[in-house]
Symmetry: D4
Subunit: 163 residues, 8 copies
């Protein structure tokens, strides 16, 4: 599935996380950044997960986005086995405590092994954060992000027409 | 370090967890159950952790006790790679949110991969729970647990002498 | 109701807990482990509860699964009167605080009397944990759990076909 | 220990709860109401606890105050076996989650079996509440409570002298 | 509205609380205890509230049940102006934080002025608690409560017929 | 105690709240705004509290600052009986749940009766907020607040000299 | 849009906040106070936000009401750049943690820069609080607020007709 | 203060945050990455903050680390005015609710404007995350991070010598 130039991997613990994680995929598509997408479960496919994390840099990935609900170990465990920046998306799944359990599991990482957490169900921002990381060495993408920020402003102006 | 007949492994994410986890070691010692003790970090030594979990049954372990603070992925990740019962001890470490973060990370496991969580800093009960599991096929140990329960009662009687 | 060889008892505080607890019953059935199921309320039938707990070992039970919502005293009180391992299932019932009240009531047991807590509404994992306990002295069951773990992996592979 | 006319029983799960529960004892002493005090543990002496609860009315008690920390099952379990009013005191013990765990365990009782919860560590108010219950059929005590309320006002006046 | 012999007053902060508080009214009716019911708002009718509280004993009330949501000051403020036992019912109203805000507002009273809190939306138990208070000087009612407890047991037996 | 021109009243539930509330007094003194300070307890002196609130406007007060811990009913009850703006200061007192109980009690007021809540222990900001309210009709004070804001900036510049 | 005499500005982070914030607009309209309403996003239009805040006093505004959900920086950031009283309305938006995240973001301001927080979704009270601030120098409005308070009482009387 | 080649800016809301933020500075120093450090307060120096954010890319910064306690608006507001990746460090300052208030303020950002949150007081990980971002286009740094990961493993081995 993965092409040579794919720099962003988006993984999630279950296919049921896709309705949230789709926003990350879409925002990256909007910026024409190819993404690799796979369901990888920390708890059901731990070896595959570690293999994925350990080989991620060699495969050419530069950023990994990992979404998970409940105990939400996926982002932290991927971070344990790669030096790439890992962005964690806490997902408010069924039987979750408003997503607070996932948020704390993802963000409260020990010293030495960071995960960059975004908001509960904040997959869109995970995508944008990945773009911002790539843009640190990509002036073209950097400019697109500046344009995107202008669009955000324009949308607020639009809102005021409805008042 | 591990001997042939050791049936309980006690692991923890950091040596700083020892002041809590010692209670598990001590209660098992009190029942003359040999234990294997090792610091294994989910986030700093993920491969070693998976290797440990995958080989745990073959090494003769019957129960694993895993203590961890903060994001506390150790118990759940060990559970991902073994079918042995895994008992998780949430540790209220520094910068923890009263240990609630560790508790939620440990207990909110997805369907298919259970962790048996005990109380925050509840290492002693983790040890007793391990004994209870072993006792399901060990009548001698079972009787000792019944005696232990009697002792608990006696201690309450003692308390009333102070009133 | 209970047969000679039944090793797992599943009790719950109210018949309304059945929609959650059914998952424990089903997973045990899937592994061909006979279960004893009864509604026993800590607060409405306390004597019956203590009698049940005190006689559980003699009746041949090896593991008890207890589900309860709200103040959720059932698992802890059963644990007070038996040395069998007790697995507690916090149930997010109506008027519950997202199930956090039940979780804390079940997991925060004092030293000496453990309850093995699983996730909020995590009855399925309670069943698997019971199987793991039984498997510590049952090689056949142990192999089935290894197969089950393989199935979990296969299901993740299935999910990736949908992407 | 208990005398004929003792109408209030004060029980607690451990002698370590005494530093909080003493305030209940003292406020009842201040009103010259004899109290029965005993350590009774729901989890270590469950049978004794049920026996205590079941016989409490026949022994002449009119109100029971029960203090407990952590999982804090004592008040609810005593309430399960008596029709006397049971006042629960959540105790913020070590390894507690700020006493919130005890509060939720005590207050979130199911329909049919009430516990009257006071504040975390609120033993003094438990004592006053017991007095208020007794005063519903004791005019002398009722008058004393009215005087006590006046004293509270006077103390606030005192405070203003320091400003 | 109030008759001579009415011993229980049930007040609530808004008519919208009635769908919860009705359970208190009904359980008292079930025991043939006449009740006085009124909407009294701590925040909208503070003077009426204080007048009600100050005159409650003289009017013959023996117990007051007060239900309130949100900031939920009604039970505590009534308690400030009467020496009668006040039972507080935290109501999980709209814009509430799962009822936790009301629970904390009601239960965390300062020393000297107790409120007896029941569970979130626990109006039924507030009613039973009021009955228990009255029963401390009413043997007939006391017997009815013992019968009620037997009924609770019988209902659990009923539940087991459905399994 | 109160002088003719005093426009700000600072009240608190107990003299023990003074160590927090002093910051409000001091910031008002710093702006040369005379303040009236009194301990008024919602729960111990409810009538005095209502009298204070009802007469506050006639006495010339324009803003009321009320600090309280635990159940923290003082700000909301004062607001119930005055149309003056009431600023509430949640105080993290002993046995408080990190001040969250006071914050929720103060801020979660029902529609129609606002309290302006500041941060937990945020008495200084309560004082500044009172100044801002007075400044809406006092240009001199308004200018002082602008100067104060400049001072805040200058202090940050100072901090950078230490780096 | 803004007229000469408009004294209250109501801003919000997104047009989706309007369904909550409308209550503030309506209560001000009910008191015939003209309002300026605009969507201003702290995160999408930060410069516009600062410009708005810095010029607010000169434009004649006396009070600013700012509603925001999630991270909810709008009220605090407006307060950073104006000395006008800023009233913050925490909005329980989608993916919010019951509005607690917004409440804490709004209320926990550092010393020197207050925001007056009202309840979660408490836009109506934000409007009334604004009126109370204006009324400190407007006797006519002050009288209307006294009448409004009488109406609140009358509505409670109405409720009692339904019992 | 800032040199030409400085790629990481570390800012914080107050000099009192330095005892936490120092860990970020130190880890970057350990990797020989020059850093720019400044106290910039969102609430006391909002204009300076926006200017800093708007000019950050042109000054050559590639990543910004922002630490803040309480309402903690600094990371989000900097993110509002730059397209650089912003890493937020929630600081458990005095009067904080265990740092949960800062965490939620920092992480719960709206769609379009991400902040990468690390753990409460997790400044060290903020530093490492910044290094990981830089390493996406710096092979030398990338190798150093791989070595650092090996060191983490070695330290766990060291810990086991003490057992």
């Amino acid at each position: 599935m993965k092409e040579q130039s794919t720099e962003v991997a988006i993984i999630m613990g279950s296919i049921s996380d896709m309705n949230v994680m789709r926003e990350a995929i879409e925002v990256l598509k909007q910026f024409s950044i190819p993404t690799y997408v796979e369901v990888i479960s920390a708890h059901r496919t731990p070896k595959k997960m570690l293999d994925f994390a350990q080989s991620a840099r060699d495969k050419g990935f530069k950023v990994i986005i990992a979404g998970a609900g409940g105990a939400a170990h996926l982002p932290g465990m991927v971070a344990s086995a790669t030096t790439l920046p890992v962005i964690g998306v806490p997902i408010n799944s069924s039987n979750s405590v408003e997503g607070i359990d996932s948020l704390l599991s993802i963000v409260q990482m020990p010293g030495g092994v960071p995960v960059a957490s975004v908001a509960i169900n904040g997959a869109k921002n995970a995508g944008i954060l990945a773009l911002q990381v790539l843009a640190t060495s990509n002036d073209n993408l950097s400019q697109k992000l500046i344009d995107y920020k202008e669009d955000l402003k324009a949308k607020v102006d639009e809102m005021n027409k409805d008042i």
